[in-house]
Symmetry: none
Subunit: 106 residues, 2 copies
């Protein structure tokens, strides 16, 4: 395994139970390229694709960029949650907001 990005990607993918193909499909990239990202030396993916992959794995694109400090797990969860929330329609969002309010009173 070649580069920092590749290591993180491979580990995270397996942790989340993705195969190359399933992640490729989910993130809308080819599995061959995904494999290159994990195993080849030089790769320098576009921001969009990296973000798409990161989103599927429940992290932000930055996680792969700042090569050393991994984010605390809690932040991953929060960011993933927010992304999911934003993908909802307005009525569902509204419901969640209501629920949040009741949580905040305790």
């Amino acid at each position: 395994m070649a580069n920092q990005l590749g290591n993180k990607l491979n580990k995270l993918r397996k942790d989340k139970g993705f195969t190359l193909e399933s992640l490729a499909k989910a993130a809308n990239v080819s599995k061959s390229y995904l494999w290159e990202l994990e195993n080849r030396e030089v790769k320098n993916p576009s921001a969009q694709r990296l973000a798409a992959i990161a989103a599927q794995l429940g992290v932000t694109a930055d996680f792969f960029l700042d090569d050393d400090a991994s984010q605390p797990e809690e932040k991953h969860l929060d960011d993933a949650f927010f992304r999911g929330y934003k993908s909802l329609g307005s009525p569902e969002k509204e419901q969640l907001r209501k629920i949040l309010e009741t949580f905040k009173k305790s």
Copy 2:
């Protein structure tokens, strides 16, 4: 001006008093390419370069990736919601996440 990324980039660059050339030098990209990012239709920069540029402008790479599909007012609600969520304790967050998951099935 062509695309969302271009708009943000151009505005931010000028706000910070950068010229194409000065920002190019600082972020280690060519000014011609910087110009393309701001003015051409299609561009899809690499994560590394975008991050470098973002850093010089004092923002994170995500700032440019944010597709902000939401209208400005809705976005405001979203952000407020996220702040509220983050202020919760872990168990409450976990509950919200579960609720989110059920919403996402439809």
